[in-house]
């Protein structure tokens, strides 16, 4: 069980959110109405996807205060929390790409197919493109093609051909690039990397306890953030970490853990290491 102590709650949350949205539409539940683009909690607190609102602004839309407030609520929430908590705890596409990754590991596809070499920074270029195209075309450009939207809207209101987009992401991750979509392409993930850079909930690493088995590096979908492993104690500071906690689960030596990066303890630890 310890091996899944974060994965189980993550999956429960990811599916739970969709389920509650689905019920909101199908049975009129008032807990959460809308979808991951914009929603209302108990018909009062507005929530909106800040990246979608940013694109709408770029498209020249005058947006009512509800959506703007909602975007600020979400922005603040993830900025304080830190990392890409949205990705590994809320986004449904994460389940698709994690499955692709699991299959890759199961069939050792990494050794068979050499991954394409795409830069992880591609996602920041795509953020830029999303905004630029929104300005030029007058519509929220990424929302127009987003497989994330296709998936959650598909589950809540019915798919249409939306499943093809999701399948594309799955196949891309399975055959073309390891952690391809979420780790290289998705501008929403990139957006939250920037937002979550200074949040408090981060991964702490203790060199003293570490036996250098490197299992954490192996499992991590954003390996580059764990560059200190095997070298020195410290914390993950990059916002690209999705805070999935897989590294904690696979570590047999209790060397990795969630920490509050602003607590004194870690500071002294960092200095020691």
């Amino acid at each position: 069980m310890r091996k899944y102590k974060y994965q189980i709650p993550r999956r429960l949350l990811q599916t739970g959110i969709l389920f509650v949205f689905f019920g909101g539409n199908a049975y009129g539940w008032s807990v959460l109405r809308g979808n991951l683009s914009s929603a209302r909690v108990f018909d009062t607190i507005p929530l909106s996807d800040p990246f979608a609102v940013l694109q709408s602004f770029s498209a020249g839309a005058v947006i009512a205060s509800d959506a703007v407030t909602g975007a600020l609520v979400i922005l603040l929430f993830y900025a304080v929390l830190g990392g890409r908590v949205f990705c590994s705890w809320a986004c449904p596409v994460n389940m698709v790409t994690d499955l692709a990754n699991r299959l890759r590991r199961l069939f050792s596809l990494d050794s068979v197919w050499k991954s394409w070499d795409i830069k992880r920074a591609t996602r920041y270029w795509i953020i830029f493109l999303s905004v630029a195209l929104s300005v030029i075309l007058g519509v929220a450009a990424f929302e127009w093609i987003s497989p994330i939207g296709a998936l959650h809207r598909g589950i809540i209101y019915g798919f249409g051909f939306g499943w093809t987009l999701v399948l594309m992401v799955f196949l891309f991750d399975l055959f073309a690039v390891k952690n391809g979509f979420c780790g290289h392409i998705c501008p929403l993930g990139g957006f939250y990397s920037i937002i979550g850079r200074f949040g408090f909930l981060r991964i702490g690493y203790d060199r003293e306890k570490c036996t250098s088995c490197m299992k954490c590096i192996e499992i991590c979908p954003e390996k580059q953030v764990l560059h200190m492993v095997g070298r020195e104690s410290g914390a993950v500071v990059s916002g690209e970490c999705v805070n999935c906690g897989r590294c904690i689960e696979v570590c047999d030596d209790d060397a990795v853990n969630f920490i509050n990066i602003y607590s004194n303890k870690i500071h002294t630890k960092c200095k020691e290491g």
Binding site: N35, S37, S38, S48, L137, V139, W144, I145, F161
Partner: protein, 260 residues
Amino acid sequence: MPERREFLLKTFKSLGLAATGGLAWSGFIEEGRSAPLILRPPGALPEKDFLASCIKCGMCVEACPYDALVLAKPGDSKPVGTPYYTPRTNPCYMCRDIPCVPVCPTGSLDKTLVSEKGEDGELRLNINMAKMGIAVIDREICIAYAGIQCDACYRACPLIDKAITVEYTRNVRTGKHTIQAPVVHSDACTGCGLCERACVTRKASIFVLPKEIAMGQSSERYIKGWDEQDEERMKEATEKVTTQTPRSGRKALDYLNDEL
């Protein structure tokens, strides 16, 4: 120098990729956007502003008690994720409290477009102000125009006698009957589509189109002299404008006789 060369090459490669991706991407968007026949919920902003602001949350869809509204799915050939309705199968029932409008978080559905100032100066929702589209009639197929008695659309209209009236003319074919034909009035019709749903012909002979598509637009220079309100516009005319054409310099008689 090779480093610099490599750097330049890499930069060009990235720029090239970004340009290709961007072009494909915008091509895809343009493709999906060219769906002008879409009918939006009541109070929707003009299509261009609507497309820019709608966040595709579906709250209007959830609020609609008749499930008239749906979000466009990939494959519907409509802007993905935006709400619309299909009158023939599920028209807008023109709810008095218009539940779909106030829930919109982005203001893409704008309350003020479907509200009226009451006597106390407060804005009150009034669905009759909605301008979702306009019903047009195919007079060649509509059986009422052929002299067969039918008033299905007329009776279905929530704005009966305002949005649709029945006009009586003599049936010249039989010489002794009346043709009782439905006529739509654009100032009152909301585009709800209840008439389209009610129409008895196999494919509806009365159907809703977006106003920009179904209606013409007059030029300022045509003034109906018999209409007092329209005549007022004469006063706005400030200068005398003479249209110049290649023939303007000559007398009409001259160029008419040219061919002889």
